[in-house]
């Protein structure tokens, strides 16, 4: 059974966002997503300072088998990226909600978060 922390919000494309700090909301992929991907071997992260719209492809996550787009779950400006993933992309697998965070975004419209799924809804989404 995959882990789905209660304090996060989730997109239907399996990204999570932690809106606790709207000036630097962390984003990653869910435990369910990392289990589907397996063996994350490379990440292409966005440039700090880039502005992104909700739903826009913003990063690429690669397993041995395939490359997958990551979509931003919210609109705003990228304020930090997790450089440690360059050396240790496997952290996305081993700690998807912690060391596996991918970037932080300054939310331009914090109300957008309400359109994402809460943990309970996401539990239903991944079945």
């Amino acid at each position: 059974m995959s882990q789905i922390p209660d304090h996060l919000h989730y997109s239907d494309s399996h990204e999570w966002i932690d809106p606790a700090d709207p000036s630097a909301a962390a984003v990653g992929v869910s435990d369910h997503a990392q289990a589907e991907l397996t063996d994350v071997v490379y990440l292409e992260l966005p440039a700090v300072g880039r502005t992104v719209a909700k739903g826009e492809a913003i990063a690429v996550i690669e397993s041995v088998k395939a490359a997958n787009d990551i979509y931003s779950p919210a609109s705003g400006e990228i304020v930090a990226v997790n450089e440690a993933l360059t050396e240790d992309p496997g952290a996305v697998n081993t700690d998807p909600y912690g060391a596996g965070w991918m970037f932080r975004i300054r939310l331009s419209d914090p109300a957008e978060i309400e359109s994402l799924m809460n943990a309970e809804a996401y539990r239903g989404h991944v079945g």
């Binding site: 494309s13 397996t38 071997v41 292409e44």
Partner: protein, 364 residues
């Protein structure tokens, strides 16, 4: 999160081991018209298991064709590149079946199972094409039997494979020597593989394949999917038909001249083109290309450039992260002038260029 590649739209055929794979937590994907396990625990640990101990792959999708009758050897010799007349009883050889232009229909392993009886193990994607090509050319007095639907198959690969077989067969049948074939009950045991490790391929009546799979697991083999099979074969530069081999490129261009006997009597379909290429030198050569630094894994169809070049010189026919080397590797048909090891190249990934170079085969 969304995969870049589209799924195969054709409804896929389940493996006879589908229920076992599901129980083991496999992820499935379509391959050559079949729904096959791509991975269980993950491609990296499965790859490592085969290099270091022993893995078992479901290869029930592969095809099995029998040819029997007086004159079978001479007839096969006219359709295959390697020299059938050199094969003793119980021996096997890697060989290729070509179209008249010298392009590849299929690469396969031919075994001699009787004085005038031969067993062909062919690619899943090519069973129908192979069988109809052979049938079209069949000489009088020869019997062709496509038993692809009657056999399930396992590839058991890795330094521990012989010990696994010992347990699976309760020590009753020794493994045949390298490239050889032996019978065990209603099964065929072939000392070959597609990983570069010691091992064997077991073809059993389809109703018995679950039992054999269970015995392999019990004997300690780790279940491995087609994902690891692909990274294992690519590290050894074994070509994949449909990707690295096709109807246009010849075995000479693919670097498989060792398996082409140009001087056997009577020649073979495609002989003229291959003889000319051998004499003149091929215009392109399937080359091993390795990234210089860690970067995004190269993949099939990525463009290859000379450093700073504006037009691609080739496209990768295969590409992956090498689990053993931890760096990207790939194959491409490079113009002969660029095919020498050490040649500097670039691979383009999503609009960015990453440094690479031609290296000697195999990668590992």
């Amino acid at each position: 999160m969304d995969p870049h590649t589209d799924a195969d739209p054709v409804p896929a055929r389940p493996s006879p081991l589908a229920a076992e794979h599901a129980r083991l937590g496999a992820k499935f994907a379509p391959f050559a018209g079949w729904e096959m396990p791509i991975q269980y625990a993950g491609i990296l640990p499965e790859h490592r298991a085969v290099r270091e101990s022993c893995g078992v792959f479901d290869i029930s999708h592969m095809g099995q064709i029998w040819i029997a009758g007086d004159g079978a050897a001479d007839w096969l010799n006219g359709l295959l590149t390697n020299d059938v007349s050199r094969m003793g009883l119980g021996e096997g050889q890697y060989t290729l079946m070509l179209n008249p232009a010298g392009g590849v229909i299929d690469d396969l392993i031919l075994y001699r199972t009787g004085d005038t009886e031969y067993f062909l193990v062919v690619n899943a994607s090519k069973v129908a094409e192979d069988a109809s090509w052979l049938a079209e050319h069949l000489a009088p007095g020869l019997q062709l039997t496509d038993e692809s639907d009657d056999y399930g198959g396992l590839a058991i690969q890795g330094p521990g494979a012989a010990a696994v077989w010992e347990k699976m067969a309760s020590g009753e049948t020794p493994l045949p020597p390298r490239n050889g074939i032996a019978r065990h009950d209603a099964c065929l045991v072939c000392r070959t593989g597609y990983t570069g490790e010691d091992g064997f391929e077991l073809f059993a009546p389809v109703e018995q394949i679950s039992e054999w799979f269970a015995r392999a697991l019990e004997a300690g083999a780790i279940p491995c999917g087609l994902g690891a099979r692909d990274t294992l074969r690519l590290e050894k530069c074994y070509p994949l038909n449909g990707s690295d081999l096709d109807a246009v490129h010849t075995p000479i261009e693919a670097g498989l001249g060792f398996f082409v006997s140009l001087d056997k009597p009577g020649g073979f379909v495609g002989h003229e083109v291959l003889a000319r290429q051998k004499a003149d030198g091929p215009a392109v050569k399937l080359s091993a290309i390795r990234q210089i630094d860690k970067g995004p894994p190269p993949r099939h169809d990525y463009a290859v450039f000379i450093p700073g070049g504006t037009e691609p010189v080739a496209a990768l026919t295969s590409g992956s992260l090498s689990p053993t080397l931890g760096i990207g590797i790939g194959l491409a048909y490079l113009p002969a002038a660029l095919a020498r090891p050490g040649t500097a190249l670039e691979i383009e990934v999503r609009g960015r260029r990453f440094a690479a170079q031609v290296v000697k085969k195999p990668f590992v």
